[in-house]
């Protein structure tokens, strides 16, 4: 038989029967101050629950086992419900109720539906959404779980509801010295608050250590090692709330990020760059009385038990170019090690963080593109995690900016939970119109929010060439400027003697270059003739030799014709007086070479026709050969001299 305190009995109970522990009277007085709010709430609830019929009678919870995990600064409550339909028709939703004070701190709620028994058990996640049914007291917030198929009469369904609360552990005392341990308060209800009647329920609260200052003692309460067990309680009516307060020691690092800005920049050349700007604060009991470094370093067991020195971040595998810096500069106290499943980054801020202290820093890393960017149905999909890679961090305000390459169109986002979204533009390297940025914002983030979200967009592969095109056009402008500079005539006076002299010298230079060109053509013809002679000695084909001779003759005639006007100009120009004799010499020598070569050629052809031996031929052309080589040498030397002028 249940002799639990009903709602009416609670008021005197709460104010007098709280067990007094070894804390000073100050603590008791403080708790008396706090308690008056609880009976107010409780009385209101009781009155409203009598007056209105919000208790639902179609469903009954046959069993609920609650496990509250208080080991971290994030409170996780796992309630296993067995809901039975005792009404007339099928029911498609189950309502969950939370007091408003708790619902404000609710970060995420997840319902898992367990079907089947034993080996064939499957679990799937059910949509849970906030609803506002009619006729409910305003102090409660309701969430509705939609069942996949309606629950028939007299059927039972098993649900696992995981709720995560932030800021539910209140440090008490609110300020501690460096040598104190951190004690926190947690308030909840021993009875499961539900719009349905509950047949059997138990509650287990897991604490981080065995040190418990005080906890509300109801009948059927026991403290077993570091777990407080309430229950089992039977046949509790709907909307019953019996408050409990647990005052215990929790030295888990209370890492709270007031603001985190994550910038994810995609480059189609093979890199996803993530930059995270953190602004952290220690969310636990504030520190008073100064900080003693000696105590902290030499007596670590009794100093700074609730402070933290290190933060561990779990980055995706194959992360590279990791940096950790703040406004002062690089922070070198960090370690990275990685394997094929993750890259673990352990960072140490510049100072240990005590209660109320703040620090801010930036972490950046690059990821390979093929791990996160995919192509599906003509669109590109970026699949990346939403939350922060650090362990056990509560984020007050998270802003995720996804910077897509310039030229991305038709951008859409699909996230597993509601967020505020808008678009911006960012100007970066080699940008003309700027890169589109999708910004997602959400408040009250816990590690359970670290799920994947997708950004879809269209991008034409040819747009990738825009960047090298810009560089190429830039360099081309340089060359055009050079050409324009060389072609324009920027002298101020166009009739001065020096300017005219320069003009004439340019002309002479041009003519000399042309002469040089022609001479090199001559020499090429000579080479060809020599080659034909060698061919003759190899193959004995006299006809082709004769044909080559004919062609050479023709070419030489043409070249001589071209040379004539140039030589005439050079002769007449006064500027060329220095260079003219040299040019004359070259031309004369070249003429000599021509004659000698023609002689040699005819001699060799004759000999071949007469079928004379090799040595005879050599004897006859020996002298000519000598002269030819000497002349060749001289011509080359002269050309060099002319070049240098």
């Amino acid at each position: 038989m249940l002799s639990e305190p009903t709602l009416v009995d609670l008021a005197p109970y709460v104010t007098t029967k709280v067990p007094v522990s070894s804390l000073e009277s100050l603590t008791l007085a403080r708790s008396r101050e706090m308690m008056p709010t609880v009976p107010h709430f409780v009385l209101l609830l009781f009155s409203l629950s009598i007056l209105s019929s919000t208790a639902r009678s179609d469903l009954v919870i046959s069993r609920v086992d609650r496990r509250i995990d208080l080991t971290s600064h994030i409170v996780r409550v796992l309630s296993s419900l067995k809901v039975e339909n005792v009404g007339a028709g099928a029911v498609s939703e189950v309502l969950l109720a939370f007091p408003n004070s708790q619902a404000e701190n609710l970060a995420t709620i997840k319902t898992i539906y367990i079907e089947g028994k034993g080996k064939g058990q499957g679990s799937s996640s059910l949509p849970t959404a906030r609803v506002e049914p009619e006729g409910v007291p305003p102090e409660l917030t309701f969430y509705s779980v939609s069942l996949p198929k309606g629950l028939e009469k007299r059927e039972t369904v098993t649900l696992d509801v995981l709720t995560v609360f932030t800021r539910s552990l209140k440090p008490f005392p609110e300020e501690i010295t460096q040598a104190d341990v951190q004690l926190v308060l947690y308030q909840d209800s021993a009875h499961y608050l539900s719009p349905y009647a509950v047949k059997v329920q138990t509650l287990g609260i897991r604490l981080p250590s065995r040190r418990v200052e005080s906890y509300t003692k109801y009948p059927n309460t026991k403290l077993v090692e570091s777990e407080i067990r309430y229950g089992p309680y039977e046949n509790v009516p709907a909307l019953s709330y019996s408050p409990i307060v647990v005052h215990f020691e929790n030295n888990h690092p209370f890492v709270v990020a007031r603001e985190l800005v994550r910038e994810i920049e995609i480059s189609h050349w093979g890199n996803v760059q993530v930059t995270e700007h953190y602004s952290l604060v220690h969310g636990g009991a504030g520190t008073k009385g100064g900080f003693s470094r000696i105590d902290y370093q030499y007596r670590p067991s009794i100093s700074g038990a609730s402070s933290f020195r290190q933060l561990i971040a779990r980055l995706p595998p194959r992360a590279h170019s990791i940096y950790y810096r703040d406004e002062i500069g690089n922070i070198s106290t960090s370690h990275v090690w990685g394997d094929s499943r993750r890259t673990q980054l352990e960072i140490e801020p510049r100072f240990p963080i005590f209660g109320g202290w703040r620090t801010s820093f930036t972490i950046g890393y690059g990821l390979p593109l093929q791990d996160f960017l995919f192509e599906s149905e003509g669109k590109r999909v970026l699949n990346i995690t939403f939350g922060c890679p650090m362990a056990e961090v509560v984020i007050d305000n998270l802003i995720v900016e996804v910077v897509l390459p310039e030229g991305s169109k038709a951008i859409s986002v699909s996230a597993p939970f509601p967020t505020r979204q808008w678009q911006e533009v960012k100007y970066s390297h080699l940008d003309i119109a700027g890169r589109p940025v999708v910004v997602l914002e959400k408040n009250n983030i816990v590690p359970e929010h670290n799920l994947y979200f997708q950004v879809y967009y269209k991008f034409n592969n040819l747009s990738l060439l825009r960047e090298p095109m810009m560089l190429i056009i830039g360099f081309f402008f340089l060359f055009i400027a050079c050409i324009v500079y060389m072609h324009t005539d920027m002298s101020i006076s166009k009739s001065s003697a020096s300017y005219l002299a320069k003009l004439q010298w340019d002309e002479v230079q041009a003519t000399v270059q042309q002469v040089q060109n022609i001479i090199s053509h001559f020499l090429a013809v000579h080479d060809r003739l020599e080659a034909s002679l060698r061919d003759l000695s190899r193959t004995g084909d006299v006809q082709s030799c004769k044909a080559a001779r004919k062609a050479a003759d023709g070419q030489l005639k043409e070249l001589t014709k071209e040379l004539k006007p140039l030589l005439g100009f050079l002769q007449s120009s006064p500027q060329a007086s220095q260079i003219w004799p040299k040019v004359e010499e070259v031309v004369a020598k070249e003429k000599e070479m021509q004659e000698k070569l023609m002689q040699k050629h005819s001699t060799v052809v004759d000999c071949f026709e007469k079928k004379l031996g090799g040595r005879e031929i050599e004897n006859r052309i020996a002298s000519q050969q000598q002269k030819l080589s000497a002349l060749r040498q001289e011509v080359d030397d002269l050309l060099e001299v002319i070049d240098e002028i």
Partner: protein, 76 residues
């Protein structure tokens, strides 16, 4: 849903080698451009030859500098 991963059109491991190769070719062509400018006289210069040399040099220099930026980690 068949989603295949997208990666860079040029393998990332090639970036430094490509940068050096393209930049050296580009610089050689630039050198030949400037030599032509310096040695040819006003009358003999041919505009088409200059422009073509300049264009080829700027293509190689453009790609070379792009791969240089990518190889040093500035993923543009």
């Amino acid at each position: 849903m068949a989603s295949k991963p997208i990666s860079s059109p040029v393998p990332v491991a090639w970036y430094p080698s490509l940068a050096v190769l393209m930049l050296s070719i580009g610089l050689v062509v630039t050198a030949s451009f400037f030599i032509y400018e310096a040695t040819s006289s006003r009358r003999n210069r041919s505009l088409s030859k200059e422009i073509i040399t300049g264009a080829v040099a700027s293509v190689f220099l453009g790609f070379g500098s792009l791969f240089l930026l990518l190889a040093t980690g500035v993923y543009v």
